[in-house]
């Protein structure tokens, strides 16, 4: 189970990093978003789950969780992470949209307005001097 989760998380990390390193802004956002999946799987794996484990719910008539139930702590962390990841993805997608509208492209390498390329004499290029 752990092994399967690990392989899946590894594959997702591979795809996520690969996408983030592309020039296309949209792909970058997708890459960041799926890296979150990998993180969630890794968090879940830290609880050492076994397939078919009982959910972390105290059964009727009992006062405490049985030892066969899944670990609730990583699950709670993952739940938070899913929601935050969703918010992040939505916001970045809209930002990408706005950037595309402003610049007319989605090339990450072309985004040099804040940190313009260095001049030849290695002098710091001041933003104020840019036209």
């Amino acid at each position: 189970m752990i092994l399967a989760l690990a392989v899946a998380a590894g594959a997702i990390v591979f795809a996520g990093v690969y996408l983030i390193l592309s020039r296309d802004l949209l792909r970058m956002v997708v890459g960041v978003s799926i890296l979150g999946y990998a993180a969630n799987l890794a968090l879940l794996a830290s609880g050492r789950p076994e397939p078919g484990m009982k959910p972390a719910i105290v059964p009727e008539g009992l006062e405490a969780l049985s030892s066969a139930a899944a670990d609730p702590v990583p699950q709670a962390l993952v739940l938070t992470s899913i929601v935050i990841g969703f918010a992040l993805t939505c916001f970045s997608l809209v930002l990408v949209l706005a950037i595309q509208q402003r610049t007319g492209g989605a090339d990450a390498d072309a985004l040099r307005e804040v940190e313009p390329p260095p001049t030849h004499d290695h002098q710091p290029a001041l933003v104020e001097e840019e036209p």
Binding site: V13, P55, A56, A70, A76, G85, T89
Partner: protein, 741 residues
């Protein structure tokens, strides 16, 4: 009104001095585990300097009030003057090396703020920066020396170090500390090769120049070396180094004086020269040196501060400080002229002035020992130029006829600017008439430097005869000042010899290097930043793995698949789905399909949650995926409308390697983390046991979120709503712009 504070302190210090019997101390712990305490040890030497600081301070405050008038920035000046005075008092009273260092640097800081008072002027800013770089740079070396010294002595108390000095005398580390202290003292007291900052610091307002850069702060280096002379006195390099550096500075500064036309800068170079003489006096052997040093410090403060005041008055009343344009001011400014004359008498060392008394002591000290006779003769030209400078400041600009280019609008300085120079200068003359008044004080202070200091018998006739060539030469220099000036001004030293050039060049280099470093690290390419980030992650993970995976069998033992059952097959299926979609995402061209596959991936994650005992997570993930599809669809529709292409970037080997490596590292790390040690179930057990009794909830995950970690969840909700509002705003702006097209 502000002058009351220094004056009160002055009165207090005088009273303490009159009743002086033994040093008094004040100590309280500061950093106990390092043995550092805020210790103050006020002995006669410290009291002597305290008198100087508060006495001159009183005059400076009175003078500054008149000098600044209604200047809107005057509060700033007064605040920093007060800070400076407090720092100065702390520095001379401190008994702990590190307390002394703190106050030492505080005076440098105050100097920086005061020199840059006219911050709208480029020159003032540059001078302030230069002074700060030199004195702070020297300060760091000084701190190094203090650290070595404290380590050698086992205590950071100055008295303790002096007491422990015989234990470590002669050790190489002690000599190293000595030279560190030299650098610190030389930077502060403007000795060659660090002398250049002092004349440039004349960009400061005149009260500041009079107080910091002639009477007190620059004497801190002299004070420090006098204070710890005892520690290094046995080192054969101590005396000669000071004599050579002090002597060279003293002579060179006088040559530089001849190059100047600005009255203030002339006085500044004369100050540098006087500081050189003081350094020399510390280096001289024999007990007379200490007496001469203390007397000279007092005399110098009593004549140089008033001369600066005079320069300030002249500047204030005529609008220029160029000695070529100033003449015959005595008619208009009789009070200032009188003060200048009195001060100049003392500066030139003419009989019946305190400067004369000090000069005689210096001569006696220099005569001690055959080897030093040459120094005595060598200093004749220096003294002669000092006489000439005194004459320039007092005679030439006040009584000399001059030509027609003299400014016509002149007036005498206001009352508050007349009193301080007159008071200080006349005190210099009065003390010269009866030096025995201050003799006990000087002797007590000198005893703190050299315990066997004593009153010196002065043979008046012999000393006067010795001074005759000085006066004669001085008159000649004064008479031919303009011609000498022309000759000296023509001489140009090669720039590599000038420490100033090197400082300026190193500043440029620093900026240049910084820009290169910035450009290399902060290159502005998004992908570069991401690559750097991931490489660091990979390196960190690889190092951790290398440290934990020594036993490869652990990994293998946990790599078993276990029994095959329904849930296991489902999880395996979900994982296969994840791997396949991950690979697909790297090659897909169409963004719409790409986003669909990312949704598919979310589905796979949700499935694995479902079969790993986490149905809540699965449910949330499903909902999020559905919501995301709505957002993606609306975004993509608009992207399509913009007609922007999203081609995949061709794979490069490094990009593939980095992503593959990081993926593998993460997979290995997950396996390794679950393979090492036993899982801690303490938290799970705690929450499992307390969920129902404490929070009345059976779903432990839910209870965790809304009860045990409620604040976290509140933060999460906040983030979510913020993101929602931001998204909505950006989206709305987008639509407005779209509609405007």
């Amino acid at each position: 009104m502000l002058a009351i504070a220094p004056f009160a302190l002055f009165v207090w210090a005088s009273r303490a001095f009159l009743r002086y019997e033994a040093p008094f101390e004040l100590r309280f712990p500061w950093v106990p585990w390092l043995g550092v305490e805020v210790g103050f040890h006020v002995d006669a030497l410290a009291l002597f300097f305290l008198l100087l600081i508060t006495g001159v301070g009183t005059c400076v405050f009175v003078y500054a009030a008149g000098y600044l008038g209604e200047d809107p920035k005057r509060r700033r000046l007064f605040s920093w003057l007060v800070v400076f005075m407090a720092a100065m008092i702390g520095a001379v009273a401190a008994d702990d090396l590190f307390v002394l260092y703190t106050f030492w640097e505080l005076t440098s800081l105050a100097s920086f703020m005061l020199v840059s008072y006219h911050h709208e002027s480029e020159t003032a800013r540059r001078s302030a920066r230069q002074a700060m770089l030199v004195t702070f740079g020297g300060g760091f070396v000084l701190l190094l020396g203090f650290l070595v010294l404290a380590g050698l002595a086992g205590t950071s108390s100055i008295q303790g170090v002096i007491a422990a000095a015989p234990r470590f005398a002669g050790e190489p580390a002690a000599r190293f500390a000595m030279f560190c202290l030299f650098v610190g003292a030389f930077t502060k007291s403007a000795q060659i090769p660090f002398h250049f900052w002092l004349p440039d610091a004349m960009a400061a307002p005149t009260p500041v120049s009079a107080y910091l850069h002639s009477a007190t702060m620059v004497k801190l280096g002299v004070y420090l070396l006098a204070r710890i002379e005892h520690v290094f006195a046995d080192d054969w390099l101590f005396g000669p180094t000071l004599i050579v550096v002090g002597g060279t500075t003293s002579a060179w500064a006088m040559v530089k004086t001849l190059r100047e036309r600005d009255l203030k800068r002339i006085l500044a170079w004369a100050t540098v020269s006087a500081l050189g003489t003081m350094m020399m006096l510390i280096g001289l052997p024999g007990a007379e040196g200490a007496m001469a040093l203390v007397a000279f410090v007092l005399a110098h403060a009593l004549y140089k501060a008033p001369l600066f005041f005079v320069a300030g008055n002249v500047d204030h009343c005529t609008g220029t400080r160029d000695i070529g344009q100033l003449a015959a001011l005595a008619r208009v400014m009789p009070w200032t002229a009188a003060a200048a004359l009195a001060a100049a008498l003392s500066m030139g060392g003419f009989p019946l002035s305190f400067g004369h008394f000090a000069k005689e002591l210096i001569h006696i000290a220099k005569r001690d020992g055959d080897l030093y006779t040459i120094i005595g003769y060598g200093s004749i030209p220096v003294s002669a130029i000092t006489v000439a400078v005194a004459a320039i400041a007092a005679v030439r600009i006040f009584w000399h006829r001059g030509d027609g280019s003299i400014p016509s609008e002149m007036h005498e300085a206001p009352f508050s600017m007349r009193i301080p120079p007159l008071a200080l200068a006349s005190l210099g003359v009065l003390l010269g008439l009866s030096p025995h008044v201050v003799d006990p004080m000087l002797q007590a202070a000198a005893k703190c430097i050299t315990p066997d200091a004593h009153l010196v018998e002065i043979d008046e006739t012999r000393e006067l005869l010795g001074l005759v060539p000085v006066y004669a030469l001085g008159v000649i220099v004064f008479a031919s000042w303009d011609r000498l000036h022309e000759v000296v001004a023509k001489v140009k030293l090669p720039s590599f010899l000038l420490a100033k050039t090197h400082l300026e060049k190193s500043q440029e280099t620093a900026v240049h290097l910084a820009s290169i470093v910035t450009r290399t690290i902060q290159h502005g390419r998004l992908r570069g930043y991401a690559a750097l980030l991931f490489s660091t992650m990979l390196a960190a993970l690889a190092l951790t793995l290398a440290a934990t995976l020594e036993d490869g069998r652990t990994l293998v033992a946990h790599a078993r698949l276990g029994e095959i059952d329904g849930a296991r097959i489902a999880v395996l299926g979900a994982c296969v789905l994840l791997v396949v979609s991950a690979i697909a995402m790297t090659v897909l061209r169409d963004t719409f399909v790409l986003l669909l596959v990312s949704g598919l991936m979310g589905l796979g994650v949700a499935l694995s949650f479902l079969f790993a005992g986490a149905p809540d997570l699965a449910l949330t993930q499903f909902i999020v995926e559905v919501a995301l599809v709505v957002v993606i669809a609306s975004v993509l529709l608009r992207v399509r409308r913009l007609g922007i292409e999203h081609p995949p970037t061709p794979a490069s080997p490094s990009r593939l390697a980095l992503s593959l490596g990081l993926g593998a590292a993460v997979a290995l790390a997950i396996v390794a983390a679950s393979g090492t040690g036993t899982a801690s179930t303490a938290l799970a057990e705690y929450f499992g046991a307390h969920s129902l009794p404490d929070a009345h909830g059976r779903n432990v995950v839910n209870v965790l979120l809304v009860d045990f970690r409620a604040l976290d969840t509140l933060g999460e909700i906040t983030v979510l709503s913020l993101a929602f509002f931001a998204t909505a705003r950006v989206f709305a702006a987008f639509r407005r712009e779209e509609a405007g097209r």
